[in-house]
């Protein structure tokens, strides 16, 4: 697609981001993280449904970035982990290591039913348990998969925007 077409389409669709209601409930996060929250996403064994929703939460329509949240490449750069899926046996150690690599103050957000309580995978032979069984969880986002607005509400609760 050549540059002219790109310009034209950019010009046609001005802004697709939907306005959201001012955030009501401010769930308490560490006060350092007000206004700026970098997250490292860890897929502990998800079906990738939650990944899609996270992607769209940070996509143009929901645009979580406007509330000061951003996905980063390294837990060293992150303030918290965005964990999806039930924790499988292969991912238990990496999940712990990833949390260890994250500098304090840090939070863990469990995204989706599987992350909260293993969902349909409860008792599966390859499953260690929910995220809470492996690492301490600060915030949980239920739903299978959770709606992007739900994810964004949780993030806004921490960034207080």
């Amino acid at each position: 697609m050549s540059a002219q077409n790109l310009w034209r389409s950019l010009w046609r669709v001005r802004r697709v981001t939907e306005a959201l209601a001012p955030d009501a409930d401010a769930t308490a996060g560490p006060e350092e993280l007000i206004g700026s929250l970098q997250l490292r996403h860890v897929d502990a064994g998800s079906c990738n449904g939650c990944e899609l929703e996270i992607a769209s939460a940070f996509g143009p329509v929901y645009d979580a970035e406007r509330f000061g949240a951003r996905l980063v490449a390294s837990p060293r750069h992150a303030d918290g982990l965005l964990v999806t899926g039930p924790v499988t046996r292969n991912m238990a150690v990496p999940l712990v290591k990833t949390l260890e690599a994250t500098p304090h103050p840090r939070i863990v957000i469990a995204v989706g039913d599987c992350a909260c309580d293993c969902g349909v995978f409860r008792g599966g032979y390859g499953v260690v348990g929910s995220v809470g069984d492996v690492v301490p969880v600060d915030a949980s986002i239920p739903g299978c998969p959770p709606d992007p607005t739900a994810i964004i509400d949780a993030l806004r609760g921490i960034t207080r925007r």
Partner: protein, 673 residues
């Protein structure tokens, strides 16, 4: 005590050191020899400083010392500069040698050869006549060769390196001798003064021939492409203090020879000579830095980077000659100053690098970067000093390498519009070559420092390494200290350098580069304030360090496992190696380097989807050696085979040859009569 007697007593002291080294018991011989050598260096250095300060040359003639010709020593300001350069390297090198002795330096042979080598290095720049010069030059070649061969008993590589060095250095000596003989034939005496007097009246062709011969001869000693092939062989095999002496001092004397013949004796010359020098310099710089960036043996890397630094010096020298030939004396002087400063800097940091490479080798037992790693934690001081020297050679301010490159760049910059087409074309290309060289040098030495001293150890040897004895660290520390001083207050030495330059180019008005602690090009617009720059950097560094401590809520860092994407185990094999670090450069310059690579993957018997082992082999050999020298060697060997037909080993055949020869001679005589 006059300067002349200083020179003599220095020489005597050096020779005594050699004798002492040969006679004393094994325990003490190296140390005593070193101490005596320091005395010699000190005496010669004092004489040199006297010459540079007073500007009067020291002349010394003794008819009986050498049969037929006599010894003829003349210490000019230019020579004095090189004497100081040699002394600066020799003292730390011999000091380092005390700790390094058990690597072969304490053999009777080596203990004799090292002091003689140093003494000869100190005397070569003071040689005042062809005979004296050639004798000293050959002594230098022989002693250094014997030192390269110290380890010949154990390693085949050493023997081949010795052969290469011997052959190339003697071809070079032959060229030099021919050049001098041509000059001497046309002039009355054989002293350089006489040569210089009569060289003016030679036919241009003869002058050109002399210059080219000298360029070949001295270039082969200076490791200029295409005569560089012996460096990456001989420097790694020689004991490290010797490598430091050869790379820091002896190679610089090669450039001294080019200046001696080209500028002093022939007094400049036509434009194309210096364009050739410039081109050779640019090619050497690029070729050397490219191979340094892609080689994985630490001392081989250093050897190639020697070629690269000599190339930079030759760019300065060539530019100087270019400007001199186009009647820009001021620029010519600046170019020559740049060349000399580059050589001085190179002696300092390359000496330090070779010595610390020796420390690493004696601590870990290997020079292969792919076997090293994590040494900064195990050898903190040696590691820090190596990093400092590496920063200096990368021309990072406020260290000395930067000053040299700045001077070179300024001389090229102001010569960019000299109104001569060839020059105007050559200069941008020279700048480009210099720039790419600088960049590749950074690649090479970030690789050497990062792979060798940082990260995790890649072998048991590296893991078990411990810090080397204090003398070795002190030796390296001295040279790194010189790097810092020359970088922060270069104005300490610049007047001396200018004195040397003005002795070479008499019609130059004083440059007076040194303005207090600043560098200022008189008549040209270029100023550098190294001291102020260094002060500002230091201030900013400490200020910001304090700022970080003040701002950080939790100042004490938590030690955590390195982030390996949550991998279960994290081993040294997961790091980049020197080979993989150099891969991008190697790939970009594929056509030049022509790396030989083979990759074979072996699968397990059950299924091709499971790989048992992957072996990758990558070798970059010297293209010029492959393309230029190997064919010649092959041809020589074939002729040798032919000649062997004459040697069946039967006595009667040999007697028959004798008879046949006699008969032929007699018949020839009768025919002629």
């Amino acid at each position: 005590m006059t300067a002349a007697s200083l020179v003599v007593s220095g020489a005597v002291l050096g020779l005594t050191a050699g004798v002492g080294g040969a006679t004393l018991p094994r325990r003490s011989r190296v140390a005593v020899g070193a101490v005596l050598v320091w005395g010699a260096c000190a005496l010669e250095a004092v004489a040199a400083i006297h010459v540079l300060v007073s500007g009067h040359r020291v002349v010394l003639h003794s008819a009986e010392l050498l049969p037929f010709t006599g010894v003829n020593l003349v210490l000019t300001p230019l020579g004095a500069f090189f004497v100081l350069l040699v002394a600066m390297v020799a003292v730390p090198a011999t000091l380092h040698g005390i700790g390094y002795a058990h690597h072969g330096l304490d053999s009777r042979m080596a203990a004799f050869a090292v002091p003689i080598f140093v003494t000869v290095l100190l005397l070569v720049p003071a040689a005042g006549s062809v005979a004296t010069f050639m004798v000293l030059w050959e002594l230098m070649a022989l002693t250094s060769l014997s030192l390269v061969l110290v380890d010949h008993g154990r390693r085949e590589a050493t023997r081949s390196a010795g052969t290469w060095y011997a052959v190339i250095t003697h071809i070079g000596a032959a060229a030099i001798l021919t050049a001098f003989l041509i000059l001497a034939a046309h002039s009355g005496g054989q002293s350089f003064a006489a040569l210089r007097l009569h060289a003016r009246h030679l036919a241009p062709v003869v002058r050109a021939l002399v210059f080219v011969l000298a360029l070949v001869g001295f270039g082969s000693k200076a490791g200029v492409v295409p005569f560089h092939v012996w460096l990456p062989k001989a420097h790694p095999e020689a004991p490290s203090p010797v490598s430091a002496l050869m790379s820091g001092a002896m190679v610089a004397l090669g450039v001294y020879g080019i200046i001696l013949v080209g500028d002093v004796i022939l007094g400049g010359g036509s434009l194309w000579w210096w364009l050739v020098v410039l081109a050779l310099g640019a090619v050497s710089a690029l070729f050397g830095s490219l191979h340094a960036a892609s080689s994985t043996d630490m001392k081989r890397l250093l050897a190639y980077s020697t070629t690269d630094n000599v190339g930079l010096a030759l760019i300065g020298l060539g530019a100087s000659g270019l400007f001199d030939a186009t009647r820009h004396p001021q620029l010519a002087a600046l170019g020559l100053v740049a060349a000399l400063v580059l050589l001085l800097n190179h002696a300092a940091f390359k000496g330090a690098l070779f010595l610390s490479a020796g420390s690493v080798q004696s601590a870990t037992g290997t020079r292969d970067l792919d076997q090293l790693g994590g040494l900064l934690r195990r050898m903190p001081q040696t590691g820090a000093l190596f990093l400092g020297a590496a920063a200096a050679i990368c021309a990072l301010p406020p260290l000395n390498g930067f000053i040299g490159e700045w001077l070179l760049f300024q001389s090229l910059l102001h010569g960019a519009d000299i109104g001569n087409t060839a020059g105007e074309i050559a200069i941008p290309l020279a700048v480009a070559a210099m720039a790419l060289t600088a960049g590749l040098t950074v690649v090479a030495f970030v690789k050497a420092a990062g792979i060798g001293f940082l990260g995790r150890p890649r072998s048991e040897g590296a893991d078990a390494a411990v810090e080397v004895p204090g003398t070795m660290r002190l030796a390296v520390g001295l040279l790194v200290g010189v790097c810092v001083v020359l970088g922060v207050v270069p104005t300490l030495v610049l007047p001396a350098v200018e004195r040397a330059v003005r002795a070479v180019l008499p019609r130059v008005a004083p440059l007076s580069l040194a303005h207090g602690v600043d560098l200022q090009l008189v008549g040209l617009r270029g100023v550098l304030e190294p001291a102020a720059l260094a002060a500002a950097m230091a201030g900013a560094l400490f200020g910001l360090g304090a700022l970080r401590r003040a701002l950080a809520r939790r100042p004490a860092p938590r030690v955590a496992e390195a982030w390996g994407c949550g991998r279960q185990l994290q081993t040294a094999r997961m790091q980049y190696t020197a080979t993989s670090f150099a891969e991008p450069v190697q790939r970009v310059f594929d056509d030049v380097l022509r790396p030989v690579q083979d990759l074979d993957v072996s699968h397990v018997a059950e299924s091709r989807y499971f790989i048992e082992a992957v072996t990758f082999h990558n070798a970059v050999d010297d293209g010029i050696e492959r393309g230029l020298y190997r064919p010649v060697i092959g041809a020589v060997r074939r002729w040798g085979q032919v000649a062997r037909q004459l040697q069946p080993g039967s006595v009667h055949r040999y007697l028959a040859y004798g008879l046949g020869a006699l008969v032929i001679v007699l018949t020839a005589l009768t025919v002629i009569r």
